[in-house]
């Protein structure tokens, strides 16, 4: 299918999210849409999928102009979309999920399960999906769930498949499998629009790359372009992808975690007997695929999640059983993983958010009253220092872009003397330009002698920041390795292999991403 978007424009109020975007997707091509968060990728795809209506411009499929006013229109025209968050019913089987919404029935409304079963098996065989039609969705790994989503789209005869940030939730090995799936789809003539901001993946699989910045197509690139060139196109200026940092000069251990065990709300052991040590002046990165206990580990350090066993001490002081406030006061800075949820209060002003955990103490408060002048002054200074783009410090935080909202959180946490900085996914959702800046700030904090613990699922970030890497798998630390450990080895450890196993296997079976 030949898909052509021409002059697509969409604005929200005064903001032009998409400005005369032209895009041609040839049959059987993997077309990467590369751009920072907020560049307008999602808006464009939502227009293509009928979730948003363009203000002007047209969509042409196989030479015919079409109107797409709803997702069902899009499906009718052979456009399928796999969202970043899956739309599956966890307690249904794979086949049932595929059936959902267009149940084939026998007489008297009896569901024809066989048909769905056969369909899944057939597609699974044809593309090598390895999906069991009778497995419950909640029991299968995220990577397989994603394939179920793809099958769903394919059963609708999708000839153009939009994958929105499909790798965000996958392990390196699963990403590799996904790349395989994408290639097989392509061989069968399906076109793929692959939305991402990760340069390595783009280079690994794209046939063509279109870069979008601030709602405009700023250029096309070949997969042979270097990461630096792509990043520059994306950001609009030269970007230093490698964080400039001196070797760490670690001092005494600041954070000591011994035998830490966390049982989550559902009764699962989220963190399983973890020992960790972070020394002053070093960055320890906790690597792992989403959902392997890193989140709970960070929350337990802050006292946000009750612990079942173990001790946490800061500078020799036992923190076990202390409240979150006491831990913050003891000198822990915390950048929570889900900032939109835990990091700030959207309806509060920028200034108020910048003192969310500082407002009680001088100069911002005296225990009874707030010193609004000081809060304002502080905000002005932080906005300047961290280049937070806001109309004014009294504007609600909800008026800021996602990246700037995150800067507010980091600015707040770094604006007081720290012994330990715990940052979960410190640059998730931040544009490349800001990543550079935030990474530098974190390294600077380390150089000031703060112990830094980073939780990240992105190997790029870990490679850029870490002095040592602790890999977590199913709540356990499977190994603590030096920062220069090869990607493939880290990837295997993230899938549960021990240090030595990972080393051996990685040499024998290099992955697509690992070899770039």
């Amino acid at each position: 299918m030949h898909l052509e978007l021409s002059g697509l424009t969409k604005s929200f109020g005064s903001l032009v999210a998409n400005d005369h975007i032209d895009l041609v997707i040839e049959p059987g091509e993997i077309h990467c849409l590369l751009g920072e968060n907020g560049a307008g990728k999602s808006t464009l795809m939502n227009m293509l999928y009928g979730l948003l209506q363009p203000d002007s411009g047209e969509i042409v499929i196989d030479g015919e102009k079409v109107q797409i006013t709803s997702p069902s229109d899009a499906i009718k025209h052979g456009i399928g979309m796999v969202h970043q968050h899956f739309m599956l019913v966890p307690v249904f089987t794979v086949a049932e999920n595929i059936m959902l919404g267009r149940e084939n029935t026998w007489a008297a409304g009896v569901l024809d399960r066989k048909k769905a079963h056969a369909l899944v098996t057939e597609l699974s065989d044809r593309y090598g999906f390895e999906v069991d039609p009778e497995a419950l969705v909640e029991d299968i790994p995220v990577g397989v769930q994603q394939r179920v989503e793809i099958i769903k789209a394919l059963t609708n005869d999708a000839r153009v498949l939009i994958l929105d940030e499909p790798t965000a939730v996958l392990t390196p090995a699963e990403i590799d499998e996904l790349i395989g799936v994408m290639r097989r789809l392509k061989e069968n003539g399906t076109s793929i629009v692959f939305i991402t901001h990760k340069l390595k993946e783009v280079k690994a699989i794209a046939d063509k790359i279109t870069v979008i910045r601030r709602g405009k197509v700023v250029g096309q690139a070949e997969p042979s372009a270097s990461e630096e060139e792509l990043a520059e196109l994306m950001v609009g200026r030269a970007v230093d992808l490698v964080v400039d940092k001196d070797p760490a000069d670690p001092q005494d251990a600041v954070l000591r975690v011994e035998g830490l065990t966390v049982i989550d709300e559902r009764g699962f052991t989220a963190v399983d007997d973890v020992d960790l040590e972070v020394r002053a002046g070093e960055i320890l990165a906790v690597a792992g695929v989403q959902g392997n206990g890193q989140t709970e580990l960070a929350e337990a350090l802050l006292g946000l999640t009750p612990i079942a066993a173990g001790t946490i001490s800061l500078d020799g002081r036992d923190l076990t059983g202390r409240t979150t406030r006491q831990r913050l006061d003891a000198g822990i800075g915390y950048v929570p993983e889900d900032r939109w949820h835990d990091g700030f209060v959207e309806s509060f002003s920028v200034a108020e958010n910048l003192v969310l955990d500082l407002f009680r103490k001088p100069p911002f408060g005296n225990g009874l009253t707030l010193h609004t002048d000081e809060i304002e002054k502080n905000a002005e200074a932080r906005v300047e220092e961290f280049d937070i783009r806001t109309q004014g410090v009294d504007d609600p935080l909800s008026s800021l872009s996602g990246g700037n909202q995150q800067k507010v959180v980091l600015a707040r946490e770094l604006s007081r003397p720290l012994k330990l900085l715990v940052a979960s996914q410190p640059t998730r959702g931040v544009d490349v330009g800001s990543i550079e800046f935030l990474h530098q700030r974190i390294v600077k904090e380390r150089d000031n002698g703060t112990a830094v613990l980073i939780v990240s699922t992105e190997l790029d970030e870990i490679a850029a920041l870490a002095d040592r890497v602790a890999v977590m798998y199913r709540g356990k630390v499977v190994g603590v390795v030096p920062a220069d450990t090869p990607r493939d080895e880290l990837g295997l450890m993230m899938a549960g292999a021990s240090k030595s196993e990972a080393h051996d296997v990685a040499i024998e079976n290099p992955t697509t991403l690992g070899t770039i």
Partner: protein, 400 residues
Amino acid sequence: MSTETEAAPAPVPPAKEPERRSGLPSWAVQGLVSLSAIVLALLVGAILIIVGDEQVQKAVGYFGAAPMDTVSAALSAVGEAYKSLAVGALGGWTPISESLTQATPLICGGLAVSLAFRTGLFNIGAQGQLIAGAILASYVGFAWHLPPVLHLVLAIVAGLVGGAIWGGVVGLLKARTGAHEVIVTIMLNYVAIYLLAWLLTTKTFQRPGRTDPISPIVDNNAQYPKFGDTRLHLGFVLALVAAVFVWWLLNRSTIGFELRAVGANADASRTAGMSVGRAYVIAMVVAGALAGLAGTQQVLGTDLPLTDGVAASVGFDAITVALLGRGTPLGTVLAGLLFGALNAGGLQMQLITQTPLTLTTVLQAVIVLFVAAPALVRSIFRFLPKERGAGAVLAKGWNG
């Protein structure tokens, strides 16, 4: 057939879909929405008046012959009713003082609900808190005999304490056990209502020589001083002071910062080291005390003896006042004044035009209905810009 994806709207990322923003500050926008709601409510009320008016009904009988008769009868019915409503509320010092008197407990009760709102709590219990305050205040008022000033002060304090306890229990249960405040406050309302009914049959509370549920009249020394020969009393001034206090607490104190933060995002507040439970307890203690203050205004200001009707429907009207006032102290005062005026004017309207007093209740309800559905008002008055912030939160209501 293939509709599966339709049912699955894209998980719109925290999309920056900028709302239509006007140059107006948010308070002005909220004011406009409220004003539009009032206008709409008056229109709805006008229809009810027309439908219920005898002259109009007669004129409709010969509508074909003289259609203008129906129109003029309708107009005059509406005009008369609203005129007497306005005169009864604002036509001179006595009506105005009556409006302010009616507004007094509504303002304090409204503040009790607003403060809890801002902390993320739906305080349905102003009624019970008010009754608890009234019980203690009246007891101190009639059972103790103390010098002037001191007696009033102690009676007021007793009322505050009564309300604070009744509210504090809710906060404590919520903080400790997670019990939903809506359930707890509703149940505590019943407890307070029947506790009051029972107390008024006991020797301690029942006025000697009476068989009906009524207490002795509170001492002169324990009564709010009145302004001139009106019913308006010092409690009104205290209500305004309370509003200023709540404004200060919410916007200028560290505790208020915490309350607002917890109300807007409890998870972020916990992460920032705040104690969400503590915030709930503080908010409910203060809210209870405010409702208790309303109780003292009833029993030490207007009623004087304690009866089982002491709270009337003030505690419930307070919820609508707070809704209309968008959870802000100033808004609550204004809404309280409006409702007080409607109550006072409604009595007059009933006297003069036989339009039932319940019409004002309908007006109040419709106003709040429109305020709670800002999108509805906006679809009628297209010029209104979209609002942001606290008002919108209130419209969403029940947050766990």
